[in-house]
């Protein structure tokens, strides 16, 4: 009979929980705002990409497909040699494979990949989960502004703010 106080306490716990409002969020009807820096979907800023392939090579799932070609661009100075640039032909991320580790975003040396908190892009067919570079570019609109630097933080050279 030594268990009796504990048994009564347990009844109190369930009764109090019952009288409190439930924590459930009725998802399709009401939505929570994802926390800042949520890993929803990866967005591509195409003009920053140099087809260096670092992201594709660092991807543990091999879910990034990149194709590109070299092209000539006008020289920076008058009378200079034409520059060689890399142009992106294909940049696909297969979200059927992606495990949202974010290594590609971190490894990108030219700030071409960003996390967006957008998470509602499920599809009826698994093939539709392969986002091409246009679709990845569209996600850029949903990428939040970077958080303000802490007071006294070192400002990177060439940074806009």
């Amino acid at each position: 009979m030594a268990e009796l106080p504990g048994l009564i306490k347990g009844l109190g716990v369930t009764l109090r929980t019952m009288l409190r409002p439930a924590v459930t969020v009725q998802y399709p009807h009401e939505k929570e705002t994802p926390p800042t820096r949520s890993r929803g979907v990866i967005a591509l800023k195409e003009e920053n990409c140099t087809v260096c392939m670092l992201c594709a090579r660092s991807c543990p799932d091999w879910c990034i497909y990149i194709e590109g070609h070299k092209d000539k661009a006008p020289p920076r100075r008058e009378g200079g040699k034409p520059r060689t640039i890399q142009l992106l032909d294909r940049f696909d991320i297969d979200y059927g494979l992606c495990m949202y580790c974010g290594i590609c975003v971190e490894v990108c040396p030219f700030d071409a990949l960003f996390w967006s908190p957008e998470y509602e892009y499920s599809e009826v067919s698994i093939a539709e989960l392969l986002h091409d570079k246009e679709r990845l570019g569209d996600w850029m609109k949903t990428v939040p502004e970077p958080l303000a630097l802490e007071a006294g933080a070192e400002v990177k050279k060439g940074a806009k703010n």
Binding site: M1, L7, G10, L11, V13, T14, L15, T17, M18, R20, A22, V23, T24, Q26
Partner: protein
């Protein structure tokens, strides 16, 4: 009803059968929705079904529709006749319980002089159905579940019956109608207006009844026969479709009936102070319904709070604590009945 309207025997019988047949699914639906779907959800800080109808009220009808569409599967080596009959036996046990429950001074299917005895005897009929189901399924989990059910139901029949004996001694009758009348005309400590609901003088009996009923209904913390973590669903493992629905309906139909018996024995049944005669016949079912919901609340509150007992703990609780307590209760009640 019979006295006022002068209906023929077959007419009253048909009405009674239809009412009881309506009460079982209705009671099962109400209990399963209010307590299983909603109360349990909120006790776990979630909402439960919300989409089928307002706050999911139609969820159980959708589930029933789903069960009815399913294939009627017999295990290859099952004893087909027994397998098919078992859910019916379990449901029949629930059905027969309603025979003696009075819902008003004249609203009763049959006012047996041995109503309490009948109810308790009939409620143990479900053990037979459970054993049939477990044995005929040709499945070791089913069999273990059924044997556990048999052991448990026999162990907890005793505190249940002995807990009720106190009420019977105090009322001086075994008729449920008589027990309601005794509570209506009783006087608690000389205070006559409110009657004497036996939950006050027989508080120990009420506790024994609730614990025993919980075990008879094989609900947690006494759900070893179902033990979904080890036995999947015990004796119900092999049942699908409408046969499973029968078991489900019997589970909640029996819970409803046990709550009704508890309300009748300990809370005064259909009686509410100040209402007599025909008014009591009209109001009785609603009063009884409210009291049933109150008793069910307790039964399901315990169900959703406690984890499962171990088999030896289960037997120890019954034989070491509940049965001696019940015997003491009978002794004290008997002594007081003689002395006072």
């Amino acid at each position: 009803m019979t006295a006022a309207l002068h209906l023929a025997y077959w007419q009253t019988t048909t009405i009674k059968v239809l009412v009881v047949m309506g009460v079982i699914p209705l009671g099962a639906l109400v209990l399963a929705y209010v307590f299983l779907l909603k109360m349990m959800s909120h006790m776990q800080s979630r909402l439960g079904p919300m989409e089928a109808g307002p706050h999911g009220v139609l969820q159980l009808l959708a589930d029933a529709g789903k069960f009815l569409q399913k294939e009627d599967v017999f295990p290859e080596r099952a004893d087909r006749a027994v397998f098919a009959l078992a859910p019916v036996v379990v449901l029949m046990s629930a059905f027969l319980l309603y025979v003696v429950i009075p819902a008003g001074p004249r609203l009763t299917v049959s006012n047996l002089d041995t109503g309490v005895f009948f109810a308790l005897a009939v409620s143990s009929l479900s053990v037979l159905g459970v054993l049939m189901a477990g044995w005929s399924s040709a499945n070791k989990y089913s069999l273990i579940g059924a044997l556990r059910a048999a052991g448990q139901l026999i162990a907890y029949e005793l505190p249940l019956v002995l807990g009720v004996v106190g009420v019977v001694i105090q009322a001086g009758t075994m008729s449920l109608q008589g027990i309601v009348q005794a509570q209506a005309h009783g006087a608690l400590l000389g205070f006559k207006t409110l009657g004497e609901p036996y939950i006050l003088p027989q508080a120990l009996g009420f506790v024994l009844f609730i614990v025993g009923a919980q075990a008879e209904l094989t609900q947690t913390p006494f759900d070893m026969p179902l033990a979904e973590t080890e036995l999947v669903a015990g004796y119900m493992v092999e049942y699908t479709g409408f046969r499973f629905l029968f078991f489900f309906m019997a589970e909640f139909g029996t819970a409803f009936a046990f709550a009704a018996i508890g309300a009748t024995l300990f809370l005064g049944g259909w009686y509410v102070p100040g209402v007599h005669g025909t008014a009591a016949d009209v109001l009785g079912p609603f009063v009884l319904g409210a009291k049933i919901m109150l008793v069910s609340f307790f039964i399901f509150w315990f169900r959703f709070t406690y984890p499962r007992f171990r088999e030896d703990q289960l037997q120890a609780v019954a034989w070491k604590y509940l049965i001696p307590l019940a015997l003491v209760n009978i002794l004290v009640t008997g002594l007081l009945k003689v002395v006072v």
